[in-house]
Subunit: 235 residues, 2 copies
DNA sequence: TCATCATCTTGGTATAGACCAGATTGCCTT
DNA sequence: AAGGCAATCTGGTCTATACCAAGATGATGA
């Protein structure tokens, strides 16, 4: 790290405080104005250093609330069909899902293409927000074939979908195709995740098939970029 | 997009120019000072908008050279063992690899652990820079078991390693374990990729085994974050 | 012809302020 | 005790300006 600039010095100082454990995961950092005084510099420079640490996943921000030390990343293995609650629980986190909205709507061209549906087909659209240890980390949109899952909306939608499919519809995820790319979080995802629109995120979109190789749903997962590491093995 | 701020207006204006094709992939954007005049604002604000577009992978910067329109992302399928040259060529890009350095060195504890080696073992370390269509997109460090590949350094190391393994050592990649996470690019990767230290990147680290399930090498791939989309399928 | 150096242009870093808007908090009223 | 309101705190956005360092360029000289 280049310590010839204020930028670099602030970055390093904060990084040391964090890795040494003086500032534990979840702890709040001093306010930007306070930091700029303490380092004899300006807010613009301090924000540069904070942004850089945020890029690295060491800290994260909540809009107009402050900066916090980021906990270790969640390990996400898309090849294992793991559901969110199970995955988080196995790694010692306290997961939670809240349902934002659930509707039966006409499918859009994009969704028709992903699900292999004809125009005017009906799908369920779920929007849900997921957190680990009280930190929101994931905003997810599910699009589900309505014809395969009658009365889906009558069930508890804050649980894992894979569990619901299995218990009520005798359907399991068998095959997953996913794409993963770094993006700037779009407006809705950003506001739900309480970050500024345009900040870094990871978009994972998946198309899921059941035991009969029928496409049953697809989803768009918007993750806070520092919240996870994706891991997989193949032969 | 919020067009009530200069930030949002600049973002949108540039985005339109790009998606409409007025500014094609690879084109250079006007200088920051010029943009700030044209939008009746300051460089600080312009840079905010440019950073946001960069996050989104719509534009990219080269240190002290300027801002450019980003071409479509390279599709990277880690499960297919595709080598870089083959993968890029299949998608219509002109790939290139340049060797930065190649040495036989004592392994570090981290590498020993990843490769399952005892202390003091010798490994080759390759550092290479890869580009598509003249744009550097990937800085990669390979650590290779020296005992499995005698005289490796005598060969042409700007080609694909998997090709070299196969043709000269009768060894093929059989099993890959990889981890993928968004990071801020560390110093060396950033300078090689001609971006500012601390800017967004994607780190993919892999541990590769051969047809006998022996660990033969591992690598650390530092990608410019906008340069690729990771894609995979599983059953 | 080719290497070198000065100059210009570019983004990178920095100062020193300012106002806005959402989140939090605590007092004050009912 | 509960609700509402206002003060205060936070980060978000912005102006205006300055100097630095590396890349690009073209004139100069061997």
């Amino acid at each position: 790290m280049d310590t010839n600039t204020h930028f670099g010095r602030i970055r390093q100082a904060l990084e040391e405080q964090i890795t040494s454990g003086v500032l534990p995961p979840g702890a709040r950092l001093p306010a930007e104005r306070l930091l700029s005084e303490r380092f004899h510099t300006t807010r613009v420079t301090v924000r540069g250093a904070l942004n850089s640490l945020e890029q690295d996943g060491i800290i994260y921000r909540e809009d107009r609330r402050g900066w916090f030390v980021a906990p270790p990343r969640l390990v996400y293995n898309p090849t294992k069909n793991a559901n969110f609650h199970q995955m988080a629980a196995e790694q010692g986190y306290a997961p939670d899902t809240s349902l934002i909205e659930a509707h039966r709507i006409p499918s859009t061209p994009q969704i028709q293409q992903m699900l292999g549906l004809p125009p005017l087909s009906q799908v369920y659209r779920l929007r849900r927000l997921r957190s680990i240890d009280q930190r929101v980390v994931l905003f997810v949109e599910n699009y589900i074939r309505a014809d395969y899952f009658p009365d889906l909306l009558d069930h508890d939608l804050s649980q894992s979908l894979s569990t619901l499919y299995q218990e009520r519809y005798q359907t399991v995820y068998q095959h997953v195709a996913f794409q993963l790319y770094p993006v700037a979080l779009p407006e809705q995802a950003a506001s739900q995740l309480k970050v500024t629109q345009g900040s870094a995120g990871l978009l994972i979109s998946r198309v899921n098939r059941d035991q009969s190789n029928r496409i049953i749903d697809c989803d768009f997962e918007y993750w806070r970029h520092y919240a996870l590491v994706v891991q997989a093995e193949t032969t």
